[in-house]
């Protein structure tokens, strides 16, 4: 029953986030600040992970190609498919649930514990709109992060495969372009938008409705990471079923 209550409270929170909007001038400042905190601040770790995981995907594929009948171009093909379809949108989003999600939960949770949210409410400000709406808008930029992850993932795969001596430049590039279906990019970015929404709202929910002190802020961050990851995996499964099967 408590799960149903939480799901209901989550959707009511989302509805209330879009009413009684904060002043435009204030909101635009908040949005830019959130873009800086949530997006720009995540680029480094996303770039690092993408490059090296792309490289590992290429090496793993190359090491498993024992049959001489299978062309080496498969390394480029496998790297492209893994990076674009799953690694960049889903795997990076789960990492972001840890990085961005924990940040959101702990910052809003701390505001709850230290009565800053009560202060906003007493002033007549819709604290949900003030705190969560800018995060949702900022996360609209998130697909650019995923685009960068895709690009760097493939560059990492290329570097590992070609400079590691597993395949030639031509074979890799030919595999990269083989059987490319543009709809798969649409699928990847479509689910990225959904993940962005989940990344902004689920951690916000856990921060906003937490009760207790500093210890509970920590617990809320962990819970938020778990539930955001679960939601991302479930949505990924549903969207994949609907769009690709």
């Amino acid at each position: 029953m408590s799960y149903l209550h939480s799901i209901g409270a989550y959707f009511i929170m989302i509805k209330d986030t879009f009413v009684k909007p904060t002043k435009g001038r204030v909101l635009s400042d908040l949005i830019f600040k959130e873009i800086d905190d949530l997006i720009i601040g995540s680029l480094g770790i996303v770039a690092f992970i993408s490059f090296f995981v792309g490289g590992v995907v290429a090496i793993q594929t190359a090491l498993n190609l024992n049959n001489p009948l299978i062309p080496k171009s498969l390394i480029g093909f496998a790297a492209r498919q893994s990076v674009i379809l799953e690694f960049a949108p889903t795997f990076i989003s789960i990492i972001m649930a840890g990085k961005v999600g924990s940040f959101i939960t702990s910052s809003i949770g701390t505001m709850r514990v230290t009565e800053q949210i009560d202060a906003l409410e007493v002033m007549g400000i819709n604290s949900l709109n003030y705190l969560i709406f800018p995060k949702i808008v900022a996360m609209l930029v998130y697909p650019f992060v995923i685009a960068i992850a895709m690009f760097l993932g493939i560059i990492g795969a290329y570097t590992a495969a070609v400079y590691g001596g597993f395949t030639s430049n031509d074979a890799f590039l030919s595999g990269l372009q083989e059987d490319f279906i543009p709809f798969q990019l649409f699928y990847a970015f479509f689910k990225t938008f959904l993940f962005a929404f989940l990344l902004a709202t689920i951690p916000s929910y856990h921060g906003y409705f937490m009760r207790g002190g500093a210890l509970e802020v920590g617990k809320a961050s962990t819970t938020s990471f778990v539930w955001t990851s679960v939601a991302i995996i479930l949505v990924n499964f549903i969207v994949t079923q609907l769009l690709l099967s």
Binding site: V26, T110, T114, E115, A119, M123
Partner: protein
């Protein structure tokens, strides 16, 4: 002026405010005192509109809060300043930004005007050289001053303070008490302070409301509280060793 009429508020089966009435006048410091669990905080939050009363009314200058529509309630809240127990300053903003925040949210003032007004209030609460510091970089007493400055920057008609002295040393607590009293008189604000600090009662208690188990057990002034026959109030007042010693010394004379 704030009138409270037969206010009741419960949570589940527990009735916290058990139906009482009182009036808080402008230009005087109204204190709500009582033991922990007596319903002080619930009463304060109910007056602020953070809790909806089960029955009864809170009337702000003749307008019952429950009769106001959402927009009117929002307008009313803009006339309210609140000093929280832990100051509730926004961590990510500097002292100056914290104080100017209500102006940014509710007025059409330009940045220069907002900063000028914030500085005016900063001077009023005797905060020096702290404009560009973050709340974490200043002392507890200074944080309380910033909270008071933020509460009064938009010229509120009502000022609510929840335990404004908690965590402060006696000297700083007295300074904060006197500051609140001066501001109350200067701006003719209806000030309501939630406290269990007997020093505050002695310093600034123009009108004191004593709550016990959700009932209004006694009300009067700081002069009357030491003469009352109400045993509950007497027990509360003389629970402090200091006051007990003073009473014993007076009795010995």
């Amino acid at each position: 002026m704030i009138e409270v009429k037969n206010i009741r508020k419960g949570f589940g089966d527990v009735e916290v405010l058990k139906g009482f009435s009182t009036t808080f006048k402008p230009g005087q410091t109204n204190l709500i005192i009582g033991q922990s669990g007596s319903g002080k905080t619930v009463f304060l939050k109910t007056m602020l509109g953070l809790h909806k009363p089960d029955s009864g009314q809170i009337i702000y200058n003749g307008n019952a809060y429950s009769d106001l529509n959402e927009e009117q309630q929002r307008d009313l809240r803009e006339q309210i300043g609140m000093v929280f127990q832990g100051s509730a300053l926004f961590d990510s903003m500097t002292v100056e930004e914290n104080i100017a925040f209500p102006l940014k949210m509710f007025t059409k003032m330009k940045k220069k005007e907002r900063i000028a007004r914030a500085n005016e209030v900063i001077q009023r609460v005797n905060l020096e050289n702290a404009n560009h510091k973050l709340p974490s970089e200043i002392s507890g007493g200074m944080q309380k001053r910033v909270a008071i400055a933020r509460a009064i920057v938009n010229n509120p008609k009502y000022l609510f303070c929840d335990e404004p002295n908690s965590g402060l040393d006696p000297n700083t607590a007295t300074v904060i008490d006197n500051l609140i009293r001066e501001i109350t008189i200067e701006y003719d604000i209806t000030t309501i302070i939630n406290t269990h600090d007997m020093n505050s009662v002695m310093e600034i208690g123009d009108h004191i409301v004593y709550l016990q188990k959700g009932h209004l057990a006694w009300e009067g002034t700081r002069h009357e509280i030491f003469k009352t026959d109400n045993k509950d109030v007497t027990n509360f007042v003389y629970s402090s060793n200091l006051f007990k010693m003073v009473r014993e010394a007076q009795n010995a004379k």
